[in-house]
Symmetry: C2
Subunit: 441 residues, 2 copies
């Protein structure tokens, strides 16, 4: 009897999870390793950050998913090194595990373009922990504004800057605008909605730039209608505890008036970072050349050049077809990568030739707010309520596990009817002395 092949999957995101789900029916032993203990439905993470959903609505423990699969071993841990010669991975606790196949799906982190000190003031949104941190910052800003007698300082607490006009930035900015205008107005008596300012800062000339220009325009108009100021052609040059410095090098308002290059400083207590992506540093340990953004350009079968038994899938991989088309860094891309890696391993086991990966474009969607979204499916483009409805249905459908699906649906239905955010709890922070605030008698 042959010894069963050992497959190690690193990362329990969409790609990694898919590999395990498909491969666990084969006669292999699979070890799934993740830094956290859960699979996260990342497309809805902004809803946790903006207090509409609870963490358990969009996450499910990886162990719970595979508890009936005896050949799947779940391990919480961090892979710190890949030994490509000995075919072993090393964990942060000094343990090591051998593999026959290794599938790396470590995803990306936001990039601060070399200014890692900004992270402290401008957290990114990739994990549940990030989302809870951002949620508490937003809620604490309102609490601080509520008790601040000085209108100028209050404005500081009522200014929110979101950096990066990709899907995450747009969703966060839109949701802050919505909860400010509706829920918060009822809850807070001193928060002054005239002072409220939500600014979305985008380095390029348009937001959501993977979409058709007409949809970018529509999304920007929607945001402006909801009270979000969209700053285009605007690069962040500094972030500190006082606020954000932005360099504008063109038409910022998008109304055709090209302005000279100028710098502005936005005073704010809350900055949320959604710009730039950098692949996990884990890829560096493979000791093969990487792209500028840290991603690894994979071969046609998604394997690492020179290492046919190691695959990189999902956002961390750069996959380019001979015709020049690339897999986009979205969930369907990662899932299709996962399917393909399984297909390749099965071809190996059957002694067949490895197939080449081909991305199938099912379209993409971004939501802006309640009943506002954009969608493009090849040459078909639409926006507004119908796009939003489609977005909602697709996202609920793909949420893993019946229970979460039921719960999120009930939650949304309730939220839609009542506009009461369900999870507006500040659980980790308390009011601490702020020496900057003056004694007011």
């Amino acid at each position: 009897m042959n010894k069963r092949k050992q497959v190690i999957v690193v990362g329990a995101g969409f790609g990694g999870l898919r590999v395990v789900q498909k491969l666990c029916k084969q006669p292999v032993e699979i070890t799934l390793i993740d830094k956290t203990n859960h699979h996260l439905f990342q497309p809805l993470l902004y809803q946790v950050a903006t207090a509409a959903l609870a963490p358990s609505d969009i996450a499910v423990p990886a162990r719970a998913i595979f508890k009936r699969n005896k050949n799947v071993h779940v391990r919480m841990g961090e892979v710190v090194d890949v030994d490509t010669d000995k075919k072993k991975i090393h964990l942060e606790n000094g343990q090591s595990l051998p593999f026959d196949y290794l599938i790396l799906a470590p995803g990306t982190r936001h990039s601060y373009f070399g200014n890692d000190s900004w992270e402290k003031f401008a957290p990114g949104l990739k994990t549940l922990s990030d989302a809870l941190d951002i949620r508490e910052r937003i809620l604490m800003s309102f609490e601080k504004a509520e008790r601040e007698p000085d209108p100028e300082k209050r404005k500081h607490h009522e200014t929110f800057v979101v950096v990066g006009g990709g899907p995450t930035g747009v969703e966060v900015a839109g949701t802050i605008a919505e909860i400010s205008a509706r829920t918060m107005r009822k809850d807070y008596e001193h928060v002054d909605l005239d002072l409220l300012e939500i600014i979305l800062v985008e380095g390029q000339s348009r937001i959501l730039n993977t979409y058709h220009e007409s949809l970018s325009e529509k999304a920007a108009r929607d945001l402006e209608q909801m009270g979000v100021k969209v700053m285009r052609n605007s690069m962040v040059t500094d972030v500190n505890e006082e606020g954000v410095r932005v360099k504008v090098t063109g038409d910022a308002s998008g109304n055709g008036q090209s302005s000279d290059s100028k710098e502005v400083f936005i005073k704010t207590g809350t900055v949320i970072w959604g710009a730039g992506n950098a692949a996990s540093p884990l890829l560096e340990t493979l000791k093969v050349p990487l792209e500028k953004d840290g991603r690894l350009r994979v071969d046609a079968d998604l394997s690492v050049p020179g290492h046919p038994d190691i695959f990189v899938i999902g956002d961390a991989a750069r996959q380019v077809n001979p015709n020049g088309r690339e897999t986009p860094a979205i969930a369907p891309g990662a899932i299709q990568h996962g399917d393909h890696a399984v297909r390749v391993i099965r071809a190996d086991m059957a002694g067949k030739e490895r197939p080449a990966f081909e991305y199938f474009d099912k379209g993409s969607m971004a939501t802006i707010g309640r009943a506002r979204a954009i969608a493009q499916i090849r040459n078909w483009r639409f926006s507004g309520f119908f796009a939003w409805l489609l977005w909602s249905l697709v996202h609920i459908f793909f949420l893993i596990g019946f229970r979460n699906r039921f719960r999120v649906m009930a939650e949304w239905f309730w939220f839609y009817l009542t506009f009461r955010g369900g999870s507006r709890l500040i659980t980790r922070k308390r009011m601490k002395p702020e020496p900057a605030l003056q004694d007011q008698e």
Copy 2:
């Protein structure tokens, strides 16, 4: 026209919330101040700590409760001083607020009997933040046990010590036993249930000592059946990162065998503290004599001796009737205190004499596990499934807000049917290098 009376309520627990709910119909201005932004249904907090419920199931933002009451002002903040002469309170940010009536409902914290350094290793369970911390410690212990090859070290991770045999300690120990035996057995392949040890350490000769002796016995037997080792007459003398030192000064097992005084050291990675209560240090700023445990002995009308316009209610108050009976430190006690403080203020406003407080004993209940609880209502005592059903109904009924009530009920129903814990997410911790673990090749 008279200026409206200014009432300040400190603490949004059961007592403080009740005062605001009852008093807001009177022509007064009320400011409710709490260190957090929410009212917490504390009797179910252990369910968040043991991953059965999500934080938003048992907490509701104070602002949301009073958003329609124009004369109620909610403020997140910490009161650091009470100026009884000028009738002002001072907040941690230097602001101060004047009052005509002040109702202090600051509750209690667990007491480490002067050994505050133990808190780091043995967190208490009073706030949502505490509960999330304890939840992550419990889940991380299982994760560590899962990947620990050395059985002796694995046992270290599979030992849970709960200090204090009051309702919180009993509930936590019982729930850890349940989730270990059922859910965790399915989720973890290397966690060895033979190594699992859950120890409840109680300083007195019996647990749940505010209940009749027969119920204490029943609860202890239930716990032992569920796999919890109950150590009686056992005082904790040290807590450090290695474990807990316990001094046994009598019959620890409760089987009548009196043992000599001895010290044992329990190696464990997870200690949960549920022993001792100390009133909030805020009471010290009143500069009146306090009880040994920091509580303030109130006058018959619940006011502070010498300060008829300042009331202390809830757990922080020691209220003794002329017949010697005291209000117990449970939610119904705090609620009745709240009702009475409102009654006194209304009597003042009507120019009538202040009534004296009388505690009405509606009985008390403690739950041990699924379908196991004890209840005593005056001389009526019962236990088992019926007590548990009563406990469930009462607790669901009193949960504030329809939505939470509905959600908790659905959650429990689901949990009862399927035994899947819903919220087993580790959101804040990641695996970090542990130099103590040896390299294992």
